[in-house]
Symmetry: C2
């Protein structure tokens, strides 16, 4: 018997993977409702078991939902934020999975009603293929999931998104939205452009037919991101242009440095490869420690959220949180916030 | 009872993977001998089952061998070609797995005795990790394996290398060495430099600590090649410099084009992502057809080679080749070429 409702708007790779992971919890006490502009995609997600119900409108999707997840390209998210306001339950928590964060934080502030809690999110996970049929429940396992709370969101709302992220097996990282966009330009958006530029370079060369015969796993890996969803990529470029232009300049400088080193030759070339291998191996073998953020949301609130919201998460959160006395007291308010109807 | 001997010089990722694949054939009739300047690496390869015997000198490694495989960085291969001449059996077949082909073809011509048959080779396969412990018998499965025969090598020698490549599960591609180096610069060497440049850019930036927390699978995949063996990378740069410099210029042009498109904005950005996704998906889903080269080596000669040399390959080759009448006649000469002693 679902006691609450999670709404997933956008059932591509990310939205469907979220649905699959949420649906797979045996003790879950929530219903998963999903919608996509492309109804074939939403129906595929439903068939795969990622949704309990597929609906045809934003209104149906968010009505009665305690948590709304926007898993669409960021420019589409803008329109959705403008449209859903009037259908939202008071106290609803809204989060997203968009690749850039500054614009969407601004739009949420601008378009959502005061009673809605927006907490930005961005899972650092992906695949060569897009679309629901590429989705899997373990897509987010051990992935970093950036969380950018809006100034207006209350701690309990942040706790709900934290619970969601942990339920999906990801590791939450609290970060300011402007910082997120700067760093994402370097580690994600410029790599995407390198993939595109490399693929185009070889594909548009006269030797493509022969060169493609020689292309091995290195070329395949380096160009993987060029197979990503074009609209998502375009939206990234439009909403993070300044940072991306800055980092394109930086990678051009790096390439000029490499080029000079090759022209001169000698030991510096070996030193470059040696130090880079060492640094990268260190990064891969001892990745930076990502810790569950501390001091966000009273443990009691999280416990209560978790109990109602993500069912099985409750026990896991109990292990890491010492229970406060406030949990039962919060229940009524939380139930309201989450759009949960009192038992008759 | 081994009837012949294969010698693997260099027991890193590639050499050890070749050894593992050759050793795994249940019906094999050859002994696998291996050597590495780093004897720990060679002993690891032996322990993993890639070698029947590990030896401490080039002399011991190539003595009595019918096939010698050089699996070392290309500059090291030069020295080995200079050193092994006097120990080689007449008619021996020598091949390599080096990343560039023009220089090594020239060195083979220059340093090897007339009686040796050099056939260049380059498997388009690799891994994030180097060294014998990263090796696996299926590393070459379905990989393209470039073959660049020297003008001096006879057809039977080419047949032996063809048999080796097919035994390893790879797909042979005949290609001129200069062409190989041009295309490899585009699909392999420049990607390596992009990996290095991207990793250095982020690693050397002031935001590394925060940026690395956000780095997901995209960054990891795009920088994978930066973890390759630094000596191998250096050797690639030294032996294919002109082509690499040319293609660095090309990728810089591509990046400038992308940058301009972003600055202007609008539809061209979406068009760029759309057409690249389409082209890349086409390339991945319908890769260029690689066919077993035709008309190289009389079937009879290949049959004979295969029977003696790679054991189980014999039956497979029989299926695709109609036997000629010359096979039995060739046997004595072939046995000599392969360094096989007549049965007592």
């Amino acid at each position: 018997m679902p006691q609450s409702r999670v709404s997933i708007i956008g059932t591509g790779l990310i939205g469907t993977s979220i649905g699959l992971a949420l649906a797979s919890r045996p003790d879950r006490q929530y219903e998963i409702v999903g919608a996509d502009r492309d109804r074939t995609a939403a129906r595929t997600a439903k068939k795969m078991g990622a949704l309990d119900r597929e609906v045809g409108s934003l209104e149906e999707a968010v009505q009665g939902a305690g948590l709304v997840i926007l898993a669409v390209p960021v420019v589409a998210a803008r329109q959705i934020l403008q449209d859903i306001g009037r259908y939202l339950e008071p106290g609803v928590v809204i989060t997203d999975a968009c690749s850039t964060k500054s614009d969407i934080m601004r739009w949420a502030q601008e378009y959502l009603p005061e009673s809605a809690n927006f907490v930005g999110g961005h899972p650092m996970a992906g695949k060569e293929k897009s679309g629901p049929s590429a989705a899997s429940a373990d897509l987010f396992k051990d992935a970093t999931w950036a969380i950018t709370p809006s100034p207006r969101a209350d701690e309990k709302a942040v706790g709900v998104v934290l619970g969601l992220v942990e339920t999906l097996g990801a590791i939450p990282l609290y970060i300011d939205s402007a910082e997120h966009d700067q760093y994402a330009a370097a580690v994600s958006h410029v790599p995407l452009l390198l993939s595109v530029a490399l693929f185009r370079m070889v594909r548009d060369s006269q030797g493509w037919e022969d060169a493609s015969l020689l292309a091995g796993p290195g070329f395949r890996d380096l160009t993987r991101l060029a197979s990503g969803d074009p609209v998502m990529s375009r939206d990234i470029m439009f909403t993070n242009r300044e940072a991306i232009l800055h980092w394109i300049g930086r990678i051009q400088d790096e390439l000029s440095t490499v080029k000079k080193a090759l022209e001169i030759g000698g030991e510096p070339v070996l030193d470059l490869f040696r130090s880079t291998q060492l640094d990268r191996d260190t990064f891969i073998e001892n990745p930076p420690v990502r810790r569950r953020p501390e001091g966000v949301g009273a443990p009691s609130a999280q416990d209560a959220m978790a109990r109602m919201f993500v069912g099985g998460l409750y026990d896991r959160l109990k292990e890491v949180s010492s229970r406060g006395p406030g949990a039962p007291k919060d229940d009524a308010e939380l139930r309201r916030k989450l759009g949960v109807r009192d038992n008759p």
